[in-house]
């Protein structure tokens, strides 16, 4: 294959391109070099790990690309985690779709396991104890995971997607481009929060709405957000990134004073640069919150939590809200999470109480991906997730109302939207 003139390969990389490390690595290098051609990268750099989104079935092309590697016995070169699948592999009865759909989903997972990937099945691999560290180059796919690993952990990934994720994992290297480059990580936009926004930004739903605003404003730039409370949790930053990656193609933000590459605004912006500045006021937050609903407050048919996958901390808060307001749930309340977090809440003895309260815990997948995961996917669903609110109307034909986690629990009790705050 042609290697572009701007790309200088090491001897090992050149041998891999020539096929000396086998056809699997050679195929992976075709994709990696193709990406380097598009980005103008001058070299390929090693990665420490990869996270693969391509394991979710989107049609025959998904399986064909996996087969392109399995047919030549390719193996991943670095520790590689897997994103969500089309169905809950641990609780297959939760999938109400037809058996063909389930078996195509399972077959694709099996193909990625055959390549040596780990069956983590989560969109929040950063909630594992073993996670990338500051300055580590990785190849992560899944838009919310990309923005979290860059922003909150300070590890470095460009925007990988289906196909480039597994190609990078098999090749063990990526173009030195995009957010792998330190200069690309500096803020080109400063988002200043009005002080009175603070009451709106205390938990995931409000911060997720801020994320939606940031996504619309960013236009390819890294945003530095000034004015978030020092108490802002990782769960809230997860919601911020997921919202921003849903409304824009945001792959990184800085939260000044919170995220590792932004101890100060000056550090986030870098020397001798003049970023654009924009203020966000309460009216903007309210407008973003309103934009996430597709119907007015009224009766609801379901509550969907856990997009991205619920953390142990979020389950702890859900338990508190359920205990504060006991009684049966009138509508289905689903929570998506990872098998890793499920194991931890099981060990803590929380799972039985959640099940007794009527909570349906879904692992390995996400309720917005398939109408087969909810009793009434096209009904009116309340969520605290900007990402769920963004995608479910297109994916499921769902109608959406949006609120805090506490609102969601109270509304599940009442069968209609109840606003109780945070």
């Amino acid at each position: 294959m042609d290697v572009p003139a701007h790309l200088e390969l090491t001897d090992d990389q050149a041998r891999a391109v020539a096929g000396d490390q086998g056809p699997g690595v050679q195929r992976a290098m075709r994709i990696v070099v193709g990406l380097a051609r598009a980005s103008g990268a001058e070299r390929l750099i090693p990665i420490g790990r990869a996270h693969v989104d391509g394991v979710l079935f989107h049609g025959q092309a998904s399986q064909d690309f996996a087969d392109w590697f399995t047919s030549v016995d390719a193996r991943v070169a670095v520790p590689t985690t897997l994103n969500v699948a089309a169905l809950d592999l641990l609780h297959p009865w939760l999938f109400r779709g037809d058996e063909d759909e389930a078996s195509t989903g399972r077959r694709l997972v099996d193909s990625y396991l055959a390549l040596g990937c780990q069956p983590t099945m989560t969109c929040a691999p950063y909630q594992d104890r073993d996670r990338p560290g500051l300055g580590e180059d990785v190849a992560w796919a899944e838009s919310n995971a990309i923005v979290f690993v860059n922003s909150v952990l300070g590890a470095r990934t460009a925007r990988y997607g289906d196909f480039s994720d597994i190609a990078a994992a098999v090749a063990g290297c990526v173009p030195d481009a995009g957010l792998h480059r330190p200069e690309a990580r500096l803020a080109g936009l400063v988002v200043e929060l009005d002080p009175d926004t603070e009451d709106w930004l205390t938990e995931e739903s409000g911060v997720g709405a801020l994320g939606v605003i940031v996504g619309r404003l960013a236009a390819g730039r890294v945003a530095a957000i000034v004015g978030l409370s020092p108490d802002t949790t990782e769960d809230a930053l997860k919601a911020l990134g997921a919202g921003a990656a849903s409304s824009g193609s945001v792959a990184m933000f800085h939260a000044v004073g919170l995220t590792p590459e932004a101890p100060t605004l000056e550090a986030a912006v870098g020397p001798d640069r003049e970023p654009d500045r924009v203020r966000v006021d309460v009216a903007a937050i309210r407008s973003a919150l309103a934009s996430l609903a597709t119907v007015a407050d009224g009766p609801i048919d379901a509550v969907a939590l856990g997009t991205p996958h619920f953390s142990v901390g979020e389950f702890g808060r859900l338990r508190t809200f359920l205990a504060d307001d006991p009684g049966p749930l009138r509508v289905e309340l689903t929570v998506n999470t990872s098998r890793g977090v499920l194991a931890e809440i099981t060990e803590r003895g929380w799972l039985e109480g959640l099940a007794a309260a009527g909570v349906v815990v879904v692992t390995d997948t996400c309720t917005y991906l398939s109408p087969a995961l909810m009793r009434n996917p096209t009904g009116i669903t309340m969520t605290n997730s900007a990402k769920w609110a963004y995608y479910a109307p297109g994916n499921l034909d769902a109608r959406v109302v949006y609120g805090t986690m506490r609102d969601c629990v109270a509304s599940a009790r009442a069968g209609r939207v109840v606003r109780v705050g945070t």
Partner: protein
């Protein structure tokens, strides 16, 4: 007779193509926004909802959203429902890899060209575009 208008872009995935232009009025996520089985834009909030990307030179001012866009693009190209080419106002590596994968798996051609802001605005109003392998885009 006026000579054909042209702008110079950077080929992210090189190839030749031509077709009518579908200039999206807002950023679009292929995943969740385009139905891979029909090629129709299905994102209810999108101003171009209901239109088909099939055979179009798809002009996208900016891209948003999911890292599964590559799969949707490859599946569309497998089914012959893909865009003829993609013209971007901002770089996007996820659509690039979708086009690369479809070329490897199916021999499908979907050039992806990046235009600078001014060139993008110039070309956005054209009704047809022809893409050359070096990234030159001609009106008609």
């Amino acid at each position: 007779m006026t000579p054909p208008r042209s702008v110079q872009g950077r080929p992210l995935v090189a190839g030749t193509a031509s077709g009518p232009v579908l200039a999206l009025r807002e950023p679009l996520s292929f995943w969740g926004g385009v139905d891979a089985a029909t090629g129709l834009i299905v994102e209810p909030r999108h101003p171009d909802v209901g239109r088909s990307v099939a055979g179009q030179v798809l002009a996208m001012p900016a891209v948003r959203g999911s890292s599964s866009a590559s799969s949707i693009l490859a599946e569309l190209l497998r089914l012959g429902l893909g865009p003829a080419a993609i013209v971007l106002g901002e770089p996007d590596e996820i659509l690039v890899v979708g086009a690369l994968a479809a070329a490897e798996l199916y021999g499908a051609t979907c050039p992806v060209v990046l235009l600078g802001h001014d060139a993008y605005v110039t070309a956005e109003g054209w009704s047809t575009m022809a893409i050359a392998v070096d990234g030159t885009i001609t009106d008609g």
